[in-house]
Symmetry: C3
């Protein structure tokens, strides 16, 4: 599973295509169906159901919402809005309705975007009972006076909130947390790129012969889901999580973005910045004030987890965001592959970022180990210089990432040198 | 007493006009008369008398100096220099003299400014017995040979040094120290703007329903006065003073200036920089090397108080400084009002700059409190965003001023949000 | 011994001229002869002999190498390469050889520089038995087919490694370490400038009436010599050395260079940067990654000494480096004098960089001590201002170097003020 593997990009795009039509929301069968599909790719994925009304921190798990159909029939009998054509047409969590009303009455329940006349907006009303339709401004402008029949065939009542996690054990109990969300209907960059890339990251972690950290992959509905997850796992998360990322908006091919943890100086931040500086140096750098996804919960006071975000085009910054234009054409195999590659590198960096200490005082004699030219001239090779530079900083204080920073080299390029020096007995792991 | 109140500026200028003719010096009746006039505006102001010869740190309180009259009569009988026309004409602390002497002899006792031919310089000789006259270069150049009669009718002998303070109690014993000086004769920006603005700051503090800190307002002759004050109050000042400002040169309308405390990182420095960056972002920033007023004593090793200076045109930097051109036309109602406003904001910032901590783990559900739109769209309002940003940093570590810095907003604009969130029980004071 | 003393520059160049012809190597009589010549200038210099095969950290002292003669005779009978003309002609540590071989065979043992056709390269093979000749590319290109006689009359077998040190006691046992190397044959900037300037620094330190620190001057063959020195003195060095410099490439007149210690924030680094910023502000600033001399050992993990390097043109950066062009014309009296001057200033700064504390609280009354004008005007003199600024920072935390940094003044210009203020009893040494 190499990041240059174009098939991998296509595989991820195919998975997004499979998940795209499902009508996800905070709760309901769309979430369950999505998680069941992901479980086919991650058999150890565990699904959880939490009853409506359950308290979670300051919140309460809402009623479960399910939708069978919804449409609007114009005065001339044409079905002008049809849930089956786009699940964005219905305001999320709409209560059931079946009535005939005038255009004026209908208008109060319509949502459109005057500045994006061909886009259907994505609207929800989770915590206030409402019903409504979303449509393009162009369609809305063409509506004529008369009586419209509106049908929304939904159920909204006590049920469950569904989420899932997958814990892949490592050598130690300390955890890397990867969280993503599954509560948006047919939206591609924000949201399907998140669970898709997270699924392939989990598969990659699972495929490793050995891993230092335990990895926790979390698939939740945004906000209420992460709050429920935190409320059920707070102590363990605070005790174990040493780094992690919220995975969202990771599928288009326009740019890379970084959003820090609350204090911006966590290990996750350092790993993410290192990777982006080497792999995508023109990345966009946001601040924690620009946050908007589940890092709001993971980094909240009292939770304080070291969670950063590495994205492609960040939510809220691209014109297609939260509209029907955020579709399968916006995310690309290459975009997903690049996002996967950067996040995978972040995890690799966490795995290799250890402190080492030299086993000998003063420089070792590299020549007798075949690691230095025996002929003294004015020049030394790049490899020889790299070895000596690494040794010079293996003082038990500088970690591999620190040393990579000093050398201006990607951490993953130095890793083999650390292995070689360890094999020669010249350095030892100071974090063991 | 709002800072946009133009009457306040005029009131301050009127007070300066009343105080302007008084011949103040390190000691003497001019200081007493000035402090008595200020006591009319601050009835609780306490005056102190310290006898000549009293030791104060490395210094000794000097003899008291008083002046009745002084003049020079030219060979043609005209009174060409007259103390009654300007009290700057006499070198401060001149010993008495009444004699006739030649122009050559007289010249040794004259002071003028060749490069400012219409300005009378301000000269003193506190610690070496002398006598002298100050005059414009233009007048000096017109003097003709002949015999001049010089009369200086002063007394210089054992007496007292006079100073005053006003302590306004707050909720806690910790103090904010505001110091200014009253030892210059008819000089407006440097000096009268200082005691005038300080008086109105004291009246504003007194007018508050409640204040967190105890406020100590100090009116002293510069240098010897602050040294005397410190020598008599050192332990209490070191124990209680948490912030403070030396108030000087705060009345003209040309610019704002900031001079840090010795280490430049005190709470006073942070408050002053925050206020100036928002209210007068083009302010001049000096270093502690540019100091020249009583911060020299308050910030001296062994005293180490957190005293910064916020000024308009700083002493020593404007052409009228220490000359007769620093008169009532140099300070303006608007200049005084602006200076008062900035210092008042500094005190407000100190009052509100507390640390808070969230009472709930994870983000609270703002919607159920009417603090968040119930309709989920791509946009949130500025107020909603501000509330969430404040909550995100209410971690018991970030103070209001820290959070204002993160948000790039004036602290006083955030204060109402902190009140609202406290009222909703979402945050609590972590410094209580 | 003032640094403007042109004779001193010439004296140093003369010493380099005396040492230049000697064929130094890691071991052997060339090193001994060099150190004996230096002992004439530093009678207390102690020489040490360490037997071949002695273990030193990860290394072993090599066999001793001595050379009597070496040459190549061309097919036409001419002696075309002659050790007596330049000791660079022989690869260092060449084993003895005396044979006739074809040009093709000979070529395998020749070293030249195609891009510097008139330069003889400097090549060694200390830890692999070889023999070889170095020559100009121009000569090499002119060689014709035929049989060549090669003679290298060397001995390479058990013997000793020779090094020397000189410890000049000071008031305290804490040490300043100055190390330089003596293992290169006829090479001027890299190397003779090093031992020459170090010798004159030692003579200057010795000439001082009194010195605060003990000074340790070390003359070793590079790498193996410093490793041997460290292995024999590690505990004492770690316990005592508070600052120091590796002295190399300090004789040409083109630029100044600075290479930091491993962490770059040692006292030596701060002293060197202060001196260079004031004496040679356009100096080249390298990083520890550019290291290449004995700071590699002194700053190695486990040794961790605070050793920085102040150089003229740094090794490896100038075209003549490690070739016959690095000769006596490359180093100049002025270049050596400048290098000596900068290093001497570094030692002076270490001597004077102490913390002081004011003896009086608040500013002292300078006027009564004749240190301040008794006439108060708008201006004060530079000297008066400097005294007051120094006093303002004599808080027991800021050292003289810190204060010089705040004032933007060279430390050595402030030293007399500290003396004056100490003499007046206004400050006292806080480090005593």
């Amino acid at each position: 599973m190499r990041i240059t593997d174009v098939n991998l990009g296509q595989e991820m795009h195919d998975l997004a295509r499979t998940l795209f039509p499902i009508c996800r929301s905070l709760t309901g069968n769309g979430v369950r169906q999505t998680l069941e599909l992901l479980r086919k790719l991650m058999p150890e994925l565990r699904l959880y159901e939490v009853e409506s009304g359950t308290a979670a921190m300051d919140w309460t798990v809402p009623d479960e919402w399910n939708i069978r159909d919804a449409y609007v029939i114009a005065p001339d009998g044409r079905k002008i809005i049809d849930f089956k054509a786009s699940n964005l047409h219905v305001v999320g969590y709409s209560e059931p309705v079946d009535k005939v009303l005038s255009l004026d009455e209908l208008q109060k329940h319509l949502h459109s975007l005057p500045e994006q006349p061909d886009a259907i907006p994505y609207i929800t009303s989770y915590y206030q009972r409402r019903w409504g339709f979303c449509l393009t401004q162009r369609l809305r402008d063409s509506l004529e006076d008369g009586n419209y029949r509106v049908v929304i065939d939904t159920t909204l009542g006590p049920g469950n909130l569904t989420y899932a996690d997958l814990v892949i054990p490592g050598d130690i109990a300390k955890e890397v947390l990867i969280s993503t969300y599954v509560c948006h209907p047919s939206l591609a960059n924000n949201e399907l790129s998140g669970p898709v890339v997270t699924t392939f990251l989990a598969r990659w972690v699972k495929s490793l012969d050995r891993r230092r950290f335990t990895y926790r992959f979390v698939f939740v509905p945004e906000t209420i889901g992460s709050i429920v997850y935190i409320s059920r796992n707070l102590r363990a998360l605070k005790e174990n999580v040493v780094a992690g990322f919220n995975v969202t908006c990771i599928g288009d091919d326009r740019c890379y973005s970084y959003l820090p943890s609350r204090d911006g100086d966590s290990w996750s931040d350092r790993a993410a910045l290192h990777v982006l500086q080497h792999m995508a140096p023109s990345f966009h750098r946001y601040t924690f004030l620009d946050r908007g996804s589940d890092e709001r919960q993971y980094c909240a006071p009292g939770v304080d987890l070291p969670i950063a975000s590495v994205m492609r085009s960040k939510y809220g910054t691209y014109p297609e965001y939260h509209t029907s234009l955020d579709d399968l054409s916006l995310i690309t195999p290459n975009g997903l592959l690049g996002g996967f590659g950067v996040l995978r590198r972040c995890l690799e960096v966490l795995e290799i970022d250890r402190r080492h200490e030299a086993t000998v005082v003063c420089e070792p004699q590299m020549g007798k180990r075949g690691l230095y030219s025996t002929l003294g001239t004015a020049q030394v090779s790049e490899a020889v210089k790299t070895r000596m530079d690494i040794l010079a900083y293996c003082d038990g204080r500088h970690s591999l990432l620190d040393i990579a920073g000093v050398l201006g080299r990607p951490a993953w390029e130095l890793s083999e040198y650390f292995g070689e020096l360890t094999d020669h007995g010249l350095i030892r792991d100071a974090d063991a």
